[in-house]
Symmetry: C2
Subunit: 446 residues, 2 copies
Amino acid sequence: MTELLSNREQKKEALKALLLRIHNGEDVNSLKEEFRAVLSSISPLEIPIIEQELVKEGVSAKDIAKMCDLHVELFREAVKGTDEVEEKELPEGHPLWVRYMENREILKDAEMLNLYARTLATTRDERMREEILGVLEEIVGNLRKVGFTHYNRDEMLTFPYIERRGLTAIATVLWTKHDEIRFMLKHLYGLLARRDEMPWEGFVERFKAKAGEASFALSDMVFRENNIYYPTLNALLSDGEWKAVRMQDDEIGYYKVNPPEWDPGEDVKPLQPWQINPELSAEELLSLPKEVQQALKGQPLEFDKGQLRRDGDLDLGTGFVSVEELKAIFEALPVDVTFIDKDDRVRFFSPGERIFTRTPSILGRPVQLCHPPKSVHIVNKILRAFKEGRKREATFWLRLGPKYVYIKYVPLFDRNGNYLGTLEITMDIGEYKRIEGEKRLLDWRD
Amino acid sequence: MTELLSNREQKKEALKALLLRIHNGEDVNSLKEEFRAVLSSISPLEIPIIEQELVKEGVSAKDIAKMCDLHVELFREAVKGTDEVEEKELPEGHPLWVRYMENREILKDAEMLNLYARTLATTRDERMREEILGVLEEIVGNLRKVGFTHYNRDEMLTFPYIERRGLTAIATVLWTKHDEIRFMLKHLYGLLARRDEMPWEGFVERFKAKAGEASFALSDMVFRENNIYYPTLNALLSDGEWKAVRMQDDEIGYYKVNPPEWDPGEDVKPLQPWQINPELSAEELLSLPKEVQQALKGQPLEFDKGQLRRDGDLDLGTGFVSVEELKAIFEALPVDVTFIDKDDRVRFFSPGERIFTRTPSILGRPVQLCHPPKSVHIVNKILRAFKEGRKREATFWLRLGPKYVYIKYVPLFDRNGNYLGTLEITMDIGEYKRIEGEKRLLDWRD
């Protein structure tokens, strides 16, 4: 035991010396091999303990974080499964490459969470505690973004591709675990916010336990993704599918990664899930990770061959609807709209019960003739400001009997910035003004 | 003078005797000729004075109102212009017939307004004053509805037909006068509401003067319509146009008239303003009222031949738009929508910046797979309630960072009541909750 301690003491001193050199400005990469040599002599289980001691001795969180990069790399090498796709084999910017890069960041932050939570529990100094709590708030706040970015991107973008191919169970299991992690992090965030409402000892023990669980769940998800889910995607998705994923990845956003552009080629057409042939070939089946092959043995694969576009459907760019569905959508909107075209003529209004009645008789009518003569000059002023690009909206509100009517005018432009017309939007906001508190999906009662 | 007074005294006694018989239950129509005989011996200018005296002597407003019917009829006969279309020539339920019938009611109520305002000014009895004020509140309240119904119907339904034919000036003059009358009535309504805030004498003199002006303006409009505007419409509009007007008249509503159905024939196609040939024939020009012919001499007629429907436009029932305009409309909406079809598959979402990101990857995806597994059972419950017709909406609200997110699910049905799918509507209501007071069109600053 003494020997082990003294051994650890030596390693710690070696690490501290390296960290001091980072702190004094030396490049991390140039020290990489030296770090690797030291770190590789430490068991993965020992690392958090040493890091914890370093923090207690005053090494800054920033420096520790730099070391964590290397530690995580080491850790990954130690536990790497046989099915894991080497991210080095993937082109930079490829959606899978991006996901592996994010997982490094997630793993690092998960380690940091655990490390700081344990350090907090053994810290006696009041000022030090506050500093650590500050770092923990930042880490937990960051990690909550994993749900909005990294997890959300798979839930919305890659799951549909494997669902179409019948691998629905994988998606459901992962999403359930994502939600458990979201809940854990939300809980940690709440604990931190309410820490003054409970005795210190009770708080810190609970926090340490919950942080440990969250850290474990986050790391566990990283390993599931790296070893099972990503290899599955890699075995099944074509370049066209990845191209579509990447375009949409950008819309949702990333976790601590700012990936370079990636395009498999101009001739590759992006393929959405509803455009693919969902049937699995024998070759594809055999190239799936062992765990997935195992899971598939028990159930018949149900490919989803539902056709999205029907005869007569309109292609609206973000979906395919029939004219009948479109009319019903406008009728159901909680806002009334009236559209005047670039020549100021009424071209369309939404049907159904409205705040201000609109009848087909006004179609084609110049908007200037649809207003009381007294206010026409204002209508013209607004339209001029819209057409000249000086204003992007004009809003009004007034009480009308029991209704609180909100009116919004918005100019519409095409992709080239040409003026298409102006939309009038009318709604009763009285109902919204009376809403308080929250009512969530799970509160719904039949 | 004495003789004149005594003469009036006799007529008043004769009227009172008749009113007493009405009050005791005799039918107005059976007394019509007797009333006509008495009323015809009274100058139209004398009638309000006598009615006023009757009110002061305690004849009920209800009985006076019945007499007013006859009085108005008499009055109309006395001032009828040569161009007035005899409503008896029009089929019952025809939009012009309806307008003439409404004008009788408007004229009667305008007379009542003036009568009661003058009576109020000479009434000393406190209790009597309160009773008259009650009647005045009702009359003014009713007359304000003329603006929402009778005037609004012409502004929205018949003006576009004459505007297309180049008679824009008539529409503008009438609308300006409509608005003056709306303003007068709003002012009277306000005066009545604030009567306790000013000395009685000041209030009653002002009210009498303003009521007189409003009454005059209302009657003046009746005569302009009956003698100039309606004959113009009668000379120009075809059965198809009247059929379209009548269908839309019903949507806006009527002033104190509940017209019977009218249809010029199943083979007559309703014609909207944008569907007519706007050119005037010589015959049509010559059949216009003298006043309109006179006004047209000074200016060239500018027919509006603008074509509403363009190549490739979608017919949405309430307008014609291009797919490009439609996309821009959905993008500009202050609500985000996502539509799932009758098979629970995502079919369309509105583009642009959204509260909850939607990507094309979810098109065609079963909605059950778009939700966290934990809440899928609620989604299914809601959809079942929609499909079985047990619920017509499900609403939720929650705070999300700086946003107060309101979510509404609405089932859509076709004309035959078949379920088409469900619309999810999402919006940030935080902005609306902060709105106070009013901001009207005329408050707009460039």
